[in-house]
Symmetry: C2
Subunit: 542 residues, 2 copies
C-alpha cells in the first residue's frame, strides 16, 4: 500500500523559487571578477536565471545537454547554475586548476555544448577550446564595457545576451532523477571521472546541509563560501544558502587572507567554509595586522586533514569553533563532520583536540562503514583500520559514461580512504588506500608518519611511501625535502619520530630529495614520487 | 538523462538505524505511565523495535496492514512505532482525546488489526473495542508485574511478548512511497479523515525538521516533546530526535506544569514543543514557585495561535525565545515558523511582537500561497486575506479511503484557514475559512475580534460568529461567557473593542451565554455555538 501524500518531485529549481518567494530581498554580495563589490538579491538572481534559461532554450539546449561553467564563486555564476539546471540541462562545473589536457579531456568526455567563462580564465580557455569540437558557444561572464578582445570564436557577452532574453520560461516539470550537475574528480590515477548528480541527490543534499550540525543556514547567518562552486558544489552552499534564506558573500577570484578578511569585516560574515590553506592565509593576515573577526562563530574546514594548530589558533586567539568536514566529489560532498557530543564538549579543550582533529560522524542520509579487504564490517574501536565505504542518496552509484562497477555487494561506494571509527562514532581518515603501507599483514598509515615528520624544524615537506621488502612485503621510507641550507642528517629525522609512532612503524630509511611534487589540489603527489623512486632499493632489503 | 547517484529509498527504518549506529548511547528518558522515570538508549530502542517487528511478523502482520497505538509519549511508544513501520506496516496513532464514537469510527475505517495500548487508556479501549471487529489483538504496554486484569479479550503483555521475540528481522527493502503512518484529523465537521503518510514523506519531513530554523536537533540538544505522538506525529520529534542523535525526554501521561518543570530541571532540557495551554500551565507553576529553567533556550508553540502575553512572559521573565509554528495533520505537520529575520531581530522586542505573534514563513519543501475564491494568487501586503493553500512532498494529496478531491488545479491543498502574508513573508492566520464572517463582500476575522474581546477583565471566554443579515449577508455577533458573578453589560464589551478593530467590524450584538463549548482539541466549538443559536435573529436585521 502506498501513502497518499503529494507527488512533488525534488528538483532544484524549487530551491531558488523558495528563495525568491520568501527571502527575495536577501542579498548575495560578490567581489566581482572585474574588481568592485556588487550586490544582488535572490529575487534578482531568480529573474536573471530565468533569462539564462531563455537564452539556452533559444540556442537549442535540450534536457540532458551539458552546459559548462569555468568560473569563480559569484552571483552571476549562481544565475547561470540555476538557469542551466532549471530547464533540465546539466551544469558541468569545470575546475580551472586542472591541467589543460585534463580540461580538454573532460570537456570532450562530457560533450559540453556551451561554456560560460569568467574573464580570468579566457587565456586558459583560448588554449583549450581548439581541441574541444563539441563546444558551440562561449559566453564571457561580464558586461559590454569590460568585454575583452578574445580569440575565442564567436564569444558572447553575458550581460548583452541577458538584456535581450525572455525570462518567461517554465522550470522543472521533469522527474527528480533527472541529471542536474556534473563534476569530474581530479583523481591522481587515470583520467578524471565524472560524477553526475541528479536533481533528487542535490535537493536531498541541500536538506542534509541545512541541518544545524552541517551548514545550518538561516536568515540570521551570513555565509562566505570560499570553497569554489567548481569544487564539489561549494560543499552545497550555492543550494543551501538560498534554501535557508541566508545572505551569501561570494569571494570571486580573490581568496588571500586580506581579501577574505575584508569581506568578513564589511559584510558581517558569521560562517565560512574553505580548505585549510585558505584558513592558514587568513590566520597569518589576522595575526600580522592584529585583527579580530568577532562576527564569525564557526568555520567549516575540509578538503584535507585539518592541522591541530589551526583548530587551536582559531579557538584560542579568535574564539571561533572549527568544524572539520570530510567528503568528496562522489559524496555531493558532505560525508561526515566533527561536531562535538556533549560528553566531548565537557572535556578541557586540549583533550577535545583528539576528536576535533578527526573527521567525525555522518549526518542522517549518509551510511558509513569501515570494512576489511574481505568486505566484512570492522569494529568501532578507534584503532582497527579499514576501507572507508559510504552509501546513500547523495553518493555516486556510477561514473558518467563508464562501465566501472563502483559499489560493493551491499551497495557501498569505496572512497579509497582508509580510516578508523572510535567508540564515540568519530571517523578518522588515516590514509589513502593506495598509500597505506602493508607490512607483515598489518597496515601502516603513511599520513600519520608524515604529519609528525613535517613538524621537524628543518623539514619543508615530507612524504612516506612503501618500498618493497622480501620479508615484510612493504616497509616505510621517509622522503624529506629540507628547508634551504639545512644539512642532511638521516638519524635526526628518525629520532624525531621515536615515541610518537609504534616501533614497527619506524621507517627503514630516510631519503633526501630536492623536490616533493604536489598535485592539482595541493596535496603531495605520491604516485609521482613512487615513479621517481622506482629503482630505489631498501637498504634493509638488500 | 538521469543522474547516476545511488538508489537509496527514503524509509524511516534508516532513521533509527542511524541513531543506533552513530548515537547508540544517547538516552531516551521517559516518565513512565507506571510512574517512575525510566531510561533507555537509541541502541536499546532499536533492538526492541526489531523484536516488536518479530512479534508482528509472527502474528501474520503484512506490509500495508494497520497496527494502532493508543499511547502517550514514551520510549516504548517509539519502539512500537519503529517496529511497525520497519516492516512496512502502517502505524495508526489513535488520539485518546477523540470521543469514543469517533475512535470506533476510525478504528473500523482503518481496519486496525492490532492495538498497542497504555494502562491509562484501558477503560476507554474496553468501551470501544466491542464495536471494532477488525481488531485481532490488544497489547498492553507494560510489564508482567503491572499487567492489570482487563476485560480486553486476549490482551497481551508487552514485556512478556517482547521477551520471547526474535529481533532477527530485516527492515526496509520496499519502495519509499510505501504507506508508513496514519493519523486522523479531529475535524469538527463530518467524520475524521485519515492522512496516510508515506516513508518518503516522513523521511523528508524529518529532514525539514532537522533544519536549524525548525527543530534543529543535535547531540548537544535535549528535546522534550510534550506534543503527543498521536497528534500530528509529535511534530516530527520522534523522527528528528533519533535522526539528530538528540536525547529525548518523554513526558508520558503527565503534562501539568509541575511534571514538565521537574523533567526540564532534572534532564537539562534545552528545547521543547507543546500547545499554548501546556506552556500556560508551566508558566503558572514557575511563577508560583519562583523557579527558573535556565537550560531551556527555545520553545516551539503551535496547535493554536500563541497569545502575545505568553511570548512576552517567556522572554522577559525566563529569557526563552518562543518560536511559533503552524501546521496541521495534513502537513505532517510543519508548515511555517516565526523565525525572526535579522531586520526584525534588530527591532526592540515590543515591536518584534507584531511578527512573533504571526505564524511566519515556510521552510524549504513547503510551498505556501494565499488565494482568492477564484483561485488567483493574492499579494503579500499584510492585509489582503485569502485561503491558505499549501503544496509539497509532506502535504496530503488525498484522504485514506476517500474519493474527495482535495487539491486545486495547481496541486495545492486547501488548509481551510484564511490568512495574510506580509512583505517580510510572514503568514498570519486570521480565521478558519468556515468561521470568517462575510460582510458586504469583505471578510471579517472572527478570531481577531475574539482575541481582543477575551482580554476584557470580566470575560471568561468569548466567541464571534456570523449572523444572517438581509443587506450585508452576515454581520458579527459577540458571544460572551462572563466570569462568575459579573454583570451583563452589553455596551462595555462593545466599548472595549472601539479603536482596536475597524469600525465596520464592530459586532452588531452581544449575546451572553452560560457556556461556550470546547472541542476535543480545546478550541472553541463554533459549529455547536451556531447550532445552539440557529434561531437567533440579529436586532439590526429585524
Amino acid at each position: 500500500m502506498l501513502g497518499l501524500m503529494q507527488d512533488w518531485p525534488l528538483t532544484v529549481d524549487k530551491i531558488i523559487d523558495h528563495a525568491k518567494n520568501w527571502h527575495g530581498h536577501r542579498e548575495v554580495v560578490t567581489r566581482s571578477v572585474e574588481g568592485p563589490i556588487v550586490r544582488t538579491t535572490y529575487a534578482e538572481i531568480h529573474a536573471r536565471a530565468k533569462r539564462v534559461s531563455g537564452v539556452l532554450k533559444d540556442w537549442g539546449i535540450q534536457k540532458g545537454d551539458r552546459v559548462a561553467t569555468l568560473a569563480w564563486n559569484t552571483g552571476r555564476h549562481m544565475e547561470v547554475w540555476y538557469g542551466i539546471m532549471g530547464i533540465g540541462a546539466v551544469c558541468h562545473t569545470l575546475n580551472p586548476r586542472l591541467f589543460p589536457e585534463q580540461l580538454i579531456y573532460i570537456i570532450n568526455h562530457a560533450e559540453d555544448k556551451i561554456i560560460f567563462v569568467d574573464l580570468t580564465f579566457i587565456p586558459l580557455l583560448e588554449a583549450v577550446l581548439p581541441h574541444c569540437p563539441t563546444v558551440e558557444r562561449v559566453v564571457v561572464m561580464t558586461d559590454e564595457l569590460t568585454m575583452p578582445a578574445t580569440k575565442l570564436p564567436g564569444a558572447e557577452c553575458y550581460e548583452a545576451i541577458l538584456s535581450g532574453a525572455s525570462g518567461d520560461i517554465a522550470w522543472g516539470e521533469f522527474e527528480e532523477g533527472t541529471a542536474c550537475g556534473l563534476c569530474y574528480t581530479s583523481g591522481t590515477t587515470g583520467n578524471p571521472k565524472g560524477v553526475l548528480y541528479s536533481h533528487r541527490s542535490n535537493f536531498i543534499h541541500t536538506l542534509l546541509g541545512m541541518q544545524s550540525t552541517v551548514l545550518g543556514p538561516s536568515p540570521s547567518e551570513v555565509i562566505l563560501p570560499v570553497v569554489p562552486m567548481f569544487h564539489a558544489n561549494a560543499w552545497g552552499i550555492a543550494f543551501a544558502g538560498p534554501a535557508g534564506g541566508t545572505k551569501l558573500v561570494m569571494p570571486g577570484a580573490r581568496m588571500d587572507g586580506a581579501a577574505i578578511y575584508e569581506l568578513i569585516e564589511s559584510e558581517g560574515v558569521t560562517f565560512s567554509a574553505a580548505v585549510p590553506t585558505v584558513w592558514q592565509g587568513l590566520l597569518m593576515h589576522l595575526r600580522e595586522h592584529k585583527l579580530q573577526i568577532p562576527t564569525v562563530k564557526k568555520v567549516l574546514i575540509g578538503g584535507s586533514a585539518v592541522p591541530e594548530s589551526l583548530i587551536r589558533a582559531f579557538n584560542d586567539e579568535f574564539g571561533i569553533e572549527v568544524l572539520q568536514g570530510w567528503g568528496m566529489t562522489e559524496t555531493s560532498p558532505v560525508g561526515s563532520l566533527s561536531n562535538m557530543t556533549p560528553e566531548l564538549a565537557a572535556l578541557p579543550f586540549e583533550e577535545q583536540l583528539k576528536w576535533r582533529t578527526k573527521q567525525g560522524t555522518p549526518p542522517l542520509g549518509v551510511e558509513l562503514k569501515i570494512k576489511n579487504v574481505a568486505g566484512q564490517d570492522l569494529p568501532h574501536d578507534g584503532h582497527t583500520y579499514g576501507r572507508l565505504m559510504v552509501k546513500g542518496p547523495t553518493i555516486a552509484g556510477a561514473y558518467f559514461r563508464s562501465d566501472e562497477k563502483i559499489l560493493d555487494h551491499e551497495g557501498f561506494f569505496d572512497t579509497g580512504d582508509v580510516s578508523t571509527v572510535d567508540d564515540h562514532g568519530f571517523m578518522q581518515i588515516t590514509d589513502r588506500a593506495k598509500d597505506v603501507i602493508k607490512s607483515g599483514g598489518e597496515w601502516i598509515s603513511s599520513i600519520e608518519i608524515e604529519n609528525i615528520a613535517v613538524g621537524h624544524p628543518k623539514v619543508e615537506l615530507a612524504a612516506v611511501i612503501g618500498a618493497a621488502h622480501p620479508k615484510w612485503d612493504e616497509r616505510p621510507v621517509l622522503v624529506v625535502k629540507l628547508k634551504p641550507g639545512e644539512p642532511q642528517d638521516r638519524q635526526e629525522h628518525l629520532d624525531f619520530l621515536v615515541g610518537k609512532i609504534a616501533k614497527w612503524w619506524m621507517p627503514d630509511d630516510v631519503v633526501f630529495v630536492d623536490d616533493i611534487p604536489l598535485g592539482a589540489t595541493g596535496k603531495v603527489d605520491k604516485k609521482l614520487i613512487r615513479e621517481r623512486m622506482k629503482d630505489y632499493v631498501l637498504p634493509t632489503a638488500a
